[in-house]
Symmetry: C2
Subunit: 184 residues, 2 copies
């Protein structure tokens, strides 16, 4: 419970799992300049002051040309001391996005490949990272049984600092429990 | 999708909602030196290299003398430009903890009050912050209908960097979907 001024200790990376419920396809890329050509979700680092969902949407657009909208968070990873993090800890967040366009126009400086892949294929391939595999399984669970089972939903709340708002992510709370004070 | 070296943009604060399922009580504090004496969960800033759950456990112990263990994440807040964040963005994460001791011995430099409060009272009081109120409702929902409804569960996975592990937080995935590759 330090009273010292805070200082930044983390970089925040965000990836977007753009999933099209109509076709069952998900947008995946293979990065250039990586040791293993693994399928993953497009993403990158948050800019200062940028909201998580906005980073995901921006990075997906820049890398793949696909427009999308934010739906939820699917996973949060915390990692310390990764070789590319320059001694900082990193938070890496994967969002569920819904596509608003479908024509891929990928950035060849960053991506080796980019495609709409069947979600079931992504869940089954060995050419991916453990976290992408896990999120593919979460998406498949959500697609088959309802996304409320996997979504970490977003809500905007007023800050204690007048005029400021913030985004809070948590499990969906039934209406009944939103007004719990009036229940008992 | 910047290729520039990353730099830290966020500080990470973590609070612990220590809830005792046997008594229905939750550990709350009132900070000194705040304008409004609102009940909240004890917490503070993550130290470099420290895992989220470890920060929650450490801060709860330092502020209140209560020992606890990590159960899950309940909520994640992202905020930019708060007056106490020195121009940085902040992530503020509330964990669900289980108490391992019950005798309060609080730090008088930080806390004005500290007590085990009935969760239903916390969910109903006006003397709290919007985020604490929200998390009290989430805890009540979990306590009454099962914590799997509100928990963002933790799992340890191997990094692509050999020998490194990281913690991944997401909704619990049924066993069936963990091995989806063998389902179809």
């Amino acid at each position: 419970p330090s009273r010292l001024p805070g200082y930044a200790t983390h970089q925040v990376g965000v990836a977007g799992a753009v999933f099209d419920e109509d076709t069952g396809k998900v947008l995946v890329v293979q990065d250039r300049n990586k040791m293993k050509n693994a399928w993953k979700f497009p993403g990158g680092l948050s800019e200062p002051g940028e909201d998580i969902g906005d980073t995901a949407i921006r990075e997906v657009l820049e890398e793949t040309g696909i427009k999308s909208e934010f739906k939820s968070l699917l996973s949060i990873r915390q990692q310390h001391g990764a070789p590319n993090a320059f001694g900082k800890s990193d938070m890496y967040i994967i969002c569920r996005l819904r596509p608003l366009s479908f024509h891929i126009s990928f950035c060849p400086h960053e991506c080796l490949k980019c495609e709409w892949m069947n979600l079931t294929d992504l869940a089954q391939t060995d050419d991916t990272t453990p976290i992408t595999h896990k999120v593919a399984n979460l998406l498949l669970y959500g697609h088959r049984e309802g996304f409320e089972k996997v979504d970490i939903a977003m809500q905007e709340l007023p800050s204690v600092y007048v005029g400021l708002f913030y985004k809070l992510y948590h499990r969906e709370l039934p209406e009944l429990y939103e007004n719990i004070a009036r229940m008992d």
